[in-house]
């Protein structure tokens, strides 16, 4: 698939999204409710102590805001749901009839779908700095680290979602896996609560998954709570996972499409 097609898919996704202005209101409301729910419990816990698990009250505020930003930008609902339905109900054949590469098409679609909200939230975060003195981007080193890890998280989640879509070639109902992933990601990636607070046992098995990369990595980078060594170590892990996922996606796509042809399409 050529670059021009990629750009047009992205543009069309932005246009589709803009058709439903009500969604923006709901996103705003939903984010505000999440802010209310999460900040309420954390602020109440820190009240009268000044510090909680290594976080000051202002740190916790920033943590909540960045966590919600990351989750809103990376958690795909619509595009992935659509992809799964296309595989299940036969709409997927249009990608086979046209000279396109589905993973590229999907990334363009996901990118376009989240484009406006991502830009809004990132600008919001950047503006936060000026309103509140030192904002979430604490230092000049934190900002590039955050952006880099933010791109990394997006690539990783796209890959994971792509595997779910391909999974629908075998399992009829991968919508549940999608929802379970979106719910589980919040807690186990350390974006709802600081990753270091998770019980020891949980952290041990999470270490075998890419979850920490999906929340803790960009959030602590943004908060300036990550040394460059740790950042690079996690970045290396991210690259490793990306390689594994790319391979899996390639294999699943090949086998899935063959199965699709075999079972009716």
């Amino acid at each position: 698939m050529n670059l021009r097609a990629f750009v047009v898919v992205t543009r069309n996704s932005v246009l589709s999204e803009l058709e439903y202005r009500f969604n923006y209101f709901m996103w705003l409301l939903s984010s505000l409710i999440s802010v209310a729910m999460e900040s309420a419990i954390l602020l109440l816990a820190v009240k009268g102590r000044g510090e909680l698990g290594g976080f000051l009250e202002t740190d916790l505020w920033k943590f909540v805001l960045i966590g919600i930003t990351i989750r809103t930008c990376t958690g795909q609902w619509k595009v992935v749901g659509e992809g799964i339905d296309e595989v299940r109900e036969g709409g997927f054949r249009k990608y086979l009839l046209q000279p396109v590469n589905y993973p590229t098409y999907f990334v363009a679609r996901a990118l376009g779908d989240k484009m406006t909200i991502t830009l809004l939230l990132l600008f919001g975060l950047a503006a936060f700095k000026y309103f509140d003195g030192p904002g979430p981007f604490l230092s000049m080193t934190a900002a590039p680290m955050f952006l880099l890890s933010f791109i990394g998280v997006n690539i990783l989640t796209w890959q994971i979602y792509l595997m779910m879509i391909y999974g629908a070639f075998w399992i009829d109902e991968t919508h549940f896996i999608q929802i379970a992933f979106n719910i589980g990601m919040a807690v186990f990636s350390g974006s709802l609560l600081p990753f270091t607070w998770l019980p020891e046992g949980t952290r041990q098995w999470v270490a075998f998954t890419p979850f920490q990369l999906l929340g803790d990595w960009p959030i602590r980078s943004a908060l300036g709570r990550m040394s460059f060594e740790e950042f690079s170590f996690l970045g290396g892990q991210a690259l490793l996972w990306m390689t594994i996922f790319s391979l899996l996606i390639w294999l699943m796509g090949r086998a899935g499409i063959r199965r699709y042809e075999a079972f009716g399409g």
């Binding site: 009500f22 409710i33 309420a40 820190v46 009829d172 607070w197």
Partner: protein, 257 residues
């Protein structure tokens, strides 16, 4: 009695339907397991850092989480899919069939699908309630079950009101989304919120009555008139819901002829 039989028949068909789609069934179960464990880990993590959040100690908070599963499980088992599919039922005209049957159309519309994975949550809820180690009297336990039921009935009535809007407007999915977001606020104890939000949840959108108030009554954190409030709310919402539903039916019949 007739309705119990009808419900069992509907339940049987739903169960068959869900077993038919194996991955559907296991996927639903996976979702519940992930949800329960993530909530469990969430509170465990917080209480690994502090002993008390506001007025809530760990056992009490775990008991609250158990109650959340209980009420939400009933919501999942009985209502969530029905209320989501209701606007489509109206639009596609399938609702006509419901009206032709010699039973309450409201009953069929709201109890049509039964989600069996929710039963797993109900048992998990009781398991967690016992495991939470909360100090609760036998009377407290009875109060808990009774007021959770009252809270659930309130939720049911509000959902009927939202779903009934499909009689007037064709696209109600946004409204249901809005409702769900507000319902989500009830997933945490009401007294953790700032004062004005607490008042909203008590007097404007009564999400506090779904879980929070029943738990606080059972734990003896509230007394006196608080025992009356949930019942009044539920009765009022039930009354409005039946009014809205009947109005809606008239509109629907009017549109048909």
């Amino acid at each position: 009695m007739k309705y119990l039989r009808l419900w069992l028949a509907l339940a049987k068909n739903s169960i068959i339907r869900q077993l038919e789609y194996r991955s559907d069934f296991f996927g639903g179960l996976l979702l519940e397991v992930v949800w329960i464990s993530s909530l469990f880990v969430f509170y465990k993590s917080i209480f690994s850092q502090v002993n008390q959040v506001g007025n809530w100690r760990e056992p009490e908070m775990m008991f609250f989480a158990a109650s959340l599963f209980l009420v939400d499980a009933f919501y999942m088992v009985l209502l969530s899919k029905n209320s989501q599919s209701f606007p489509e039922t109206i639009r596609s005209g399938i609702f006509d069939f419901y009206l032709l049957r010699p039973v309450s159309a409201l009953f069929i519309s709201t109890f049509r699908y039964i989600n069996i994975t929710g039963f797993f949550n109900i048992s998990m809820a009781f398991f967690l309630a016992i495991k939470s180690g909360v100090a609760i009297t036998p009377i407290g336990a009875l109060i808990w079950i009774f007021y959770c039921f009252v809270g659930f009935s309130l939720l049911y009535s509000l959902l009927v009101i939202v779903a009934s809007m499909a009689f007037w407007i064709t696209q109600t999915s946004s409204l249901q989304w809005l409702f769900f977001e507000l319902y989500r606020l009830g997933h945490r104890p009401d007294d953790i919120y700032v004062k004005w939000l607490q008042r909203v949840l008590l007097f404007a959108f009564p999400a506090a009555f779904f879980i929070s108030i029943p738990v606080k009554l059972a734990l003896g954190k509230l007394d006196g008139l608080w025992f009356l409030w949930p019942i009044l709310w539920t009765a009022a919402a039930g009354f409005i819901a039946s009014l809205v539903w009947r109005r809606g039916l008239k509109v629907y019949e009017g549109a048909m002829s």
